[in-house]
């Protein structure tokens, strides 16, 4: 049972894009760069001309860890926490999980593709190993 995020005007597009199969990242309409987490202002150039924008959902594993500690009764099995960098822009990244493979099959640099896990009104963006 994952803890769910509180959705607000800025974060809702990120957490609900999966309903239509889209990973949405905030992008600046002026400097064209992406930034995360979503906010009403561009971190790079302070433009207010920003909007959630669909991205490919493809990226690579920047770093990861295999969690062994059962923080709750339901988290007894090892799972992978990773930081994934998206292919759209160097430094465009967020923390997620790598799923659908044994934890020890994950490697730094591994190409991954987004998959969504729907819980209530949230579509949590997770990643799996990209098809060869």
């Amino acid at each position: 049972m994952r803890k769910l995020p509180l959705l607000n005007a800025e974060t809702r597009p990120f957490w609900t894009g999966g309903e239509v199969g889209e990973l949405r990242m905030h992008r600046c309409g002026d400097c064209t760069r992406y930034f995360h987490p979503p906010a009403p202002v561009c971190r790079h150039c302070t433009s207010l001309n920003v909007a959630p924008t669909p991205v490919s959902g493809r990226g690579r594993v920047l770093t990861f860890t295999i969690n062994h500690q059962a923080w709750t009764a339901e988290l007894g099995d090892p799972y992978v926490v990773a930081i994934v960098e998206l292919e759209e822009q160097a430094g465009l990244r967020f923390l997620s999980n790598i799923v659908n493979c044994p934890p020890d099959a994950v490697e730094i640099g591994m190409p991954v593709t987004v998959v969504f896990e729907n819980v209530e009104d949230v579509w949590i963006p997770l990643f799996e190993k990209a098809a060869a």
């Binding site: 994952r2 803890k3 995020p5 509180l6 062994h68 923080w71 709750t72 988290l75 799972y79 730094i108």
Partner: protein
């Protein structure tokens, strides 16, 4: 630089610490009183002389075991006439109380400031409450600026994130698990010589590698140990300090810069914010990293100590693994004695001010069996990820 560097007008004049319990039978308030009264007496002051109180993070954690007592409770319970007080989490890490107190004195808001930090995570764990690891993060939906990007991915402790920093550091620089282990082994060696340390059974490399894997590559012995304790530091204006009981320990420089977003997955993965604080600190002093006689560096997780060694310029970037290799350089009789009381890994997670308390103990020659030889300059640093702050302390 046009502005005067005001922290130099402030000195540490006394320190105090409650028992460090795992757990303690004393209440959070009682631990706080124990520490505060010891520090005030150590300075040669009386409670009525204290006209400023501050703490990081204050009680904005809503009375949780992470910070059960804040400045408002302390100034009330001692009946102080405060000219200035402050508490709050959003500052440059666990040493922020020292920084804010020093600025209050330097700007004329107060003469003698009580800086304290109380934590009761050990008794909290034993009582079965989950308020630190999970509570703020269990229950309703997460809207916390940082945690909302973590908990949906079952990251319920920053150990997962610091483990990823460790993995990145190993990948980028070839740092080895054996080198990481030296931080834990050094802490335990020193804790054996510290009567107040909570973990005093000698530890070998085999013991380290036998400890439970928590989040690869970090093991249980890479994580600090909960305790119940309060630590207090008294700051005074330089001219007042001269007439007090102890030789003043000057606050030579503060590092409080932050040039990255406060987001644990957006920060530099192999350096964190440590260089932001470190570079800012060195820019405020003529002292150099080579002048440092002892370093008391945050070890909430062992990897963070390596990042601080680099961030403060005590070794080259990427070179911390080689620097601690074998443990000789960082030992009590080494070139840079590190975490001389056992740090938080073995001494107990006093969370921030314990490093300052130990630096002062060393500078004043009170280290007992763990005393290092004639130190004059100590650096303290605390925080991990995007949270970082450092102070340089000098006893002339």
């Amino acid at each position: 630089m046009g502005a005067r560097i005001l922290e130099k007008d402030v000195a540490i004049v006394g320190v105090g610490q409650s028992e460090v319990g795992r757990p303690s039978s004393r209440s959070a308030m009682q631990l706080t009183v124990d520490a505060a009264l010891e520090a005030i007496a150590d300075a040669g002051l009386a409670p009525k002389d204290i006209d400023g109180v501050c703490s990081w993070p204050g009680d904005n954690a809503n009375g949780s075991s992470f910070s059960p007592v804040g400045p408002l409770a302390v100034l009330s319970m001692f009946g102080l006439n405060c000219n200035w007080f402050s508490g709050g989490y959003e500052a440059a890490g666990p040493l922020a109380g020292i920084m804010n107190g020093a600025m209050a004195i330097a700007s004329g808001m107060a003469k003698n400031v009580l800086v304290f930090r109380t934590i009761t995570e050990s008794s909290n764990r034993l009582s079965g409450s989950k308020d630190q690891s999970l509570a703020a993060k269990s229950g309703a939906r997460d809207g916390n600026f940082m945690w909302q990007w973590c908990t949906p991915f079952n990251v319920l402790s920053v150990v997962n994130i610091t483990a990823m920093y460790a993995h990145s550091h190993m990948r980028a620089y070839g740092t080895t698990p054996e080198q990481l282990a030296q931080i834990a082994l050094n802490a335990r060696r020193n804790a054996v010589l510290n009567p107040k340390a909570v973990m005093r059974k000698p530890m070998t490399m085999d013991d380290y590698f036998a400890s439970k894997m928590i989040s690869t590559p970090l093991r249980m012995f890479d994580c600090d140990v909960h305790c119940d304790a309060s630590t207090a530091i008294i700051l005074s204006r330089k001219d007042i300090a001269r007439d007090l009981r102890n030789p003043p320990i000057r606050i030579e420089a503060i590092g409080a810069a932050m040039n990255q977003p406060y987001l644990w997955d957006q920060v530099d993965l192999t350096a964190n914010a440590a260089p932001d604080a470190g570079n800012a600190m060195w820019a405020r002093t003529d002292f150099k990293p080579a002048d440092v006689d002892t370093a008391q560096l945050y070890d909430g997780f062992s990897i963070l100590t390596l990042l601080w060694l680099e961030g403060l310029g005590l070794c080259p970037r990427g070179g911390s693994g080689a620097f601690v290799e074998g443990g000789h350089r960082i030992a009590l009789d080494g070139q840079l004695p590190l975490n001389t009381n056992g740090g938080q890994l073995s001494g107990g997670r006093t969370h921030g001010l314990g490093y300052v308390h130990e630096a002062c103990a060393q500078l004043w020659g009170r280290g007992g069996e763990r005393q290092i030889r004639d130190p004059h300059v100590a650096v303290c640093a605390a925080g991990g990820g995007p949270l970082a702050g450092s102070v340089l302390l000098v006893k002339d």
